[in-house]
Amino acid sequence: MPTEPPGKGLREEDLEHHNVITVTYQPTAKYSWATGVAIGRFLNGLKEGEILGTKCDECGRIAVPPRIFCEWCFRRTTTWVKLPDTGTVNTFSISYIATDTTRLKTPTIPAVIEIDTAGHAGFLHIVGEARPEEVKIGMRVKAVWADPEVRKGSITDIRYFRPIR
């Protein structure tokens, strides 16, 4: 391999001060995704204050978030089950950065919450009402719901999961 490989690196100032020619562009790509049968019903359930899963009649697995198929048996699933709004922290992080990498003053605690009675199935959410140092894998948690009148059929209808003390 060559000792002086190709590539001309720039500093941020070169770009900011237009030392080199650049073109800027704001994309306007927008989407309106159809939630479909399974996620549509899941989100409707959240609006009603319920966590819904699907069950495979072949292997008995409960899927949450739900789907209309069992990916392991490759069968259509049509059995719906209402799940409790309690669970266990499978794993978590204490995040000091926002999506755009800006720094947060108060950390967010994202976690995978295994929903009770769903085997090890669960979903990504946030842990609240907890000091960062007290959150542990295996911690028991319960959903804190948004008020019924502001729920809109979104994952954020659960505001967060709080520790069960």
Binding site: I21, V23, A29, K30, Y31, A34, T35, D100, K152, S154
Partner: protein
């Protein structure tokens, strides 16, 4: 966000800043500073790439020699575009042409001043030097040669 559980709205919350690159920098700077069109020469294939590249797409030679292209082209095809980039109707339809240059491989796609036909001789009209920014839009449009 989700007002109807039947759909979820979303986008890409980013924007982009593209460098013109090594050859693009040379090309746009020549337009900006000197009102000239330059091509990159592949001596292996005997082709002058317009816009210039740092490589010949046919033989993958590295191109480092730039040659001036005379500002006199020929309309290869034209169209009358009625919509903007998002599909909205333009207030005025825009004449667009693909212009080839006899001494160059490639050409320039740009607006034309008024209608043109295939085979018409046209030339690039540059913006006044003080208004040029180092963009393909430093060419105001192409116009028919008198």
């Amino acid at each position: 966000m989700a007002t109807d559980p039947g759909t979820i709205e979303g986008d890409f919350p980013v924007h982009f800043r593209y460098t013109a690159g090594i050859a693009g920098e040379k090309f746009l700077k020549e337009i900006k500073d000197n009102g000239r069109l330059v091509a990159a020469r592949c001596s292996n294939c005997q082709l002058n790439y317009l816009p210039p590249r740092i490589y010949c797409e046919r033989c993958m030679s590295k191109l480092e020699e730039y040659v001036e292209v005379e500002n006199s082209g020929i309309v290869q095809s034209y169209t009358l575009c009625t919509q903007d980039r998002e599909g909205k109707q333009l207030a005025e339809p825009v004449n667009v042409a693909f212009v080839r240059f006899p001494s160059a491989h490639g050409g320039i796609i740009h607006r034309t001043h008024g209608e043109v036909c295939v085979g018409d001789r046209v030339r690039a009209v540059f913006k006044p030097k003080s208004n040029r920014t180092g963009s393909i839009l430093d060419i105001e449009f192409f116009e028919k040669e008198p």
